[in-house]
């Protein structure tokens, strides 16, 4: 398949998301504004009020209701989108679990922002990190182009009948949401063809009959029942089984999209950067990966074997891909843009270190908590991290496994 001719637009991250939603033939959008996600709902409102989409758009009174509406609309069989972040995502928390438990393929954009208190509107990942166990697919993007591409892919992933897993796409507040970038957009009809129409699988309904898995007066089923200890566990197990199938489907959708757009993000799950022969490497997600790539390039010109691993999906967590990518690296720094208070490091650190326990060679691993509440992560600080890694490489010793970087002590 030939790469489709595209339009180059100047969009910020929020606009890129809204544009992707506009093109994806979405039936219902229900949302509440929260800084810095607001532009997504604002742009979408314009599309609706100018008659550019025929989506049913409902501005609700809270994020809790936004997701509640999306959940039942999705259960009625239509394609659904919402967007949130920070306190709004936290307000949805309960319904996130209900949505994945109901196997409703809702797609949501999260503009990552710190959680109160103190109140702060800037970027960190503490909002979506706490939702990593909610049964949603989590995709973290590096730039606005990827935000656009990932939203389009998300509908295909979430609605895939082997998955039916709600999917959230994360973009960094302000660094992406409010920064103008060049974004290549596919023609409307190409996106529409790519996302297709939502297909509803058949399930065994009342009296053992095979019926569509939706609220349909012709074939009534009861959704969201009371599950006691005799069935709840099995239903949770089914969610995990779907998650196990997710890496394959995410890769398939990613590759198919790459064929029409010409854009690839690693293998769709992880994006290794100059890791082939790397001795030292960082692991991070989101926009920091962009800055880090620049730093890696600078180090490489000095002959330092530096690399980077960007996690694109954090759920499903691509264990084997990570082992393969990092196994031969001797010293690794994990960069966590959130913290688990009282724990031994941030959430990504926990999982990376845990994962490499299964690897044949055990590298030295350190954690850097950085950028909370929108604190900048300039190249100089990233250089410091690589300098530390070089020291660890030489001494084969980790002095301080967990550090806060860029903070006043």
């Amino acid at each position: 398949m030939a790469i489709t001719k595209q339009n180059l637009l100047a969009l910020n991250g929020d606009e890129a998301v809204a544009y992707a939603v506009k093109q994806s033939d979405v039936d219902v959008v229900s949302a509440y504004p929260i800084t810095p996600q607001t532009i997504i709902v604002e742009r979408f409102s314009e599309y609706v009020h100018n008659g550019e989409v025929d989506t049913e758009f409902v501005c609700v009174e809270s994020e809790h209701s936004a997701l509640s509406m999306c959940l039942t609309a999705s259960a009625t069989g239509v394609r659904v989108f919402t967007a949130s972040g920070s306190a709004g995502l936290a307000l949805m928390h309960e319904i996130l679990y209900v949505t994945s438990g109901a196997r409703a393929p809702v797609v949501m954009a999260i503009v990552n922002r710190a959680l109160s208190g103190p109140i702060n509107i800037h970027c960190d990942h503490s909002d979506s990190m706490v939702e990593r166990d909610a049964g949603w697919i989590q995709i973290y993007v590096e730039n606005s182009q990827e935000a656009y591409d990932s939203i389009v892919q998300a509908f295909r992933i979430a609605e895939h009948n082997d998955l039916l897993l709600p999917t959230m796409v994360m973009l960094d507040a302000f660094f992406l949401s409010h920064t103008l970038e060049s974004v290549n957009v596919l023609p409307d009809e190409t996106v529409r063809k790519f996302v297709g129409t939502r297909k509803i699988p058949l399930v065994r309904g009342h009296k053992g009959k095979l019926v569509p898995f939706k609220l349909d007066p012709e074939n009534p089923i009861t959704m969201g029942p009371l599950d006691l200890y005799d069935y709840y566990f099995e239903h949770k197990r089914q969610q995990e089984e779907a998650m196990q199938r997710a890496p394959r489907i995410i890769k398939e959708v990613h590759d198919e999209y790459a064929r029409i757009s010409g854009r690839k993000y690693g293998n769709g799950l992880i994006e290794p950067y100059r890791l082939e022969d790397a001795e030292i490497a960082t692991v991070c997600l989101g926009s920091t990966a962009g800055t880090t790539k620049t730093v890696v390039d600078q180090l490489r010109t000095k002959g330092i074997k530096a690399g980077l691993l960007r996690l694109r999906t954090y759920r499903p967590y691509p264990v084997q891909d990570i082992i393969n990518a990092l196994e031969n690296v001797k010293a690794i720094a994990v960069m966590d843009r959130s913290h688990s208070f009282g724990a031994h490091g941030g959430p990504i650190f926990h999982e990376i270190r845990h994962t490499l326990y299964e690897a044949s060679i055990h590298p030295q691993i350190v954690d850097y908590i950085y950028g909370l509440g929108g604190r900048d992560m300039p190249q100089t600080l990233i250089h410091e991290i690589y300098k530390d890694l070089q020291k660890i490489l030489e001494t084969k010793r980790v002095e301080k496994p967990i550090q806060f970087i860029g903070v006043r002590e």
Binding site: D27, C59, S68, T72, T222
Partner: protein, 320 residues
């Protein structure tokens, strides 16, 4: 709205059950009676959604269900948003020509906890946005599903496990929130109160609520033998007594215009028929402590509240 719908007992008896037998509600459950009667009033295709609470729990224990129509439960506080989601999806399907029906009735059911308390935000939001669905509040006046804790719908003086009849404080201190008036104040097309004891009135009001174009709110008093502490055979009698004592008057407000319904209108026209609130309280164990010398004053207080609210309602209905 001019409701032309006419029905006979035979019509209702012949209508297939929607809320089916086999659910696990208690003997004498008021809400179960309400559900069965309300669902007899429906038109064509229906989708129902239910807040977490007694009735969801007793009717959908997986892998069983008491529902012969599409049904979804998601959480406690969001049933109005859920109904709005269903209604919006149906609208989207209709616009695309993918809906097989001209109309699908969407009904949201919730108890008093899911309505007066935790659910009022979603309910108010959905009402403001004008979603076309019927919201049914089955009011058993406490959190019965979790073991009889007070809610915003629990009346003054009632015993519950979180407003116990203590040595100092005799039951619930605060008054019952006037939820139906609050819903009228949202300027929605239809609001009504109903009682399972007056089933013709209840069925008719349900239908009018469904026929309303926009949000409709039906407040149905549904006594609970477990929580109200009475014999399971007395449910309907107590529901009737609530109307006869003006504890729970029956009225409807069409486009904000209040009118008393027949059982309460009779009392308005012949005030001597208004029974003392004592009659209603004395048959319920939850008010037993009020009949001790120490707390008798509370009965007077309740009578005063009821009288004041009744007077105010008469004014709203143009009956004074």
């Amino acid at each position: 709205m001019a409701s032309k719908w006419k029905f006979t007992i035979k019509d209702l008896a012949e209508k297939p059950e929607i809320f089916m037998s086999g659910h696990r509600a208690c003997a004498g459950c008021g809400p179960a009676i309400a559900y069965r009667q309300i669902l007899k009033a429906t038109r064509g295709p229906i989708i129902a959604t239910n807040a977490t609470g007694c009735m969801e729990v007793v009717s959908t224990i997986y892998p069983y269900t008491a529902w012969s129509i599409p049904f979804i439960h998601t959480a406690f506080e969001n049933v109005a948003a859920n109904a709005a989601g269903i209604e919006t999806a149906l609208k989207a399907l209709k616009k695309k020509g993918q809906l097989k029906y001209d109309n699908v009735d969407v009904i949201a059911f919730a108890g008093d906890g899911g309505t007066y308390d935790i659910g009022i935000q979603a309910l108010s939001g959905a009402a403001e946005r004008g979603h076309n669905f019927l919201y049914v509040l089955y009011d058993n006046e406490a959190y019965m599903n979790t073991g009889i804790q007070r809610s915003g719908g629990t009346p003054h003086g009632a015993w519950t496990t979180t407003s116990p009849a203590g040595r100092v404080i005799p039951g619930k201190v605060r008054y019952k929130k006037p939820i139906a008036y609050i819903m009228v104040a949202h300027d929605i097309p239809y609001v009504a109160t109903a009682s399972i004891a007056y089933w013709i009135d209840l069925v008719r009001k349900t239908r009018r609520g469904l026929e309303a174009e926009g949000p409709a709110f039906l407040h149905a008093l549904a006594p609970c033998p477990r929580g109200w502490r009475y014999d399971t055979s007395k449910t309907v009698e107590i529901a009737r007594s609530a109307v006869e004592t003006c504890v729970f008057p029956l009225w409807e407000a069409v486009d904000g215009e209040y009118a008393l319904s027949a059982p309460s209108k009779v009392i308005a026209l012949k005030p001597e028929r208004k029974k003392p609130v004592k009659d209603y309280l004395k048959v319920q164990g939850r008010f037993r402590h009020l009949f001790t010398p120490k707390f008798e004053y509370v009965i007077d207080e309740i009578q005063q509240i009821i009288d004041r609210r009744w007077k105010r309602l008469l004014k709203k209905c143009g009956m004074t």
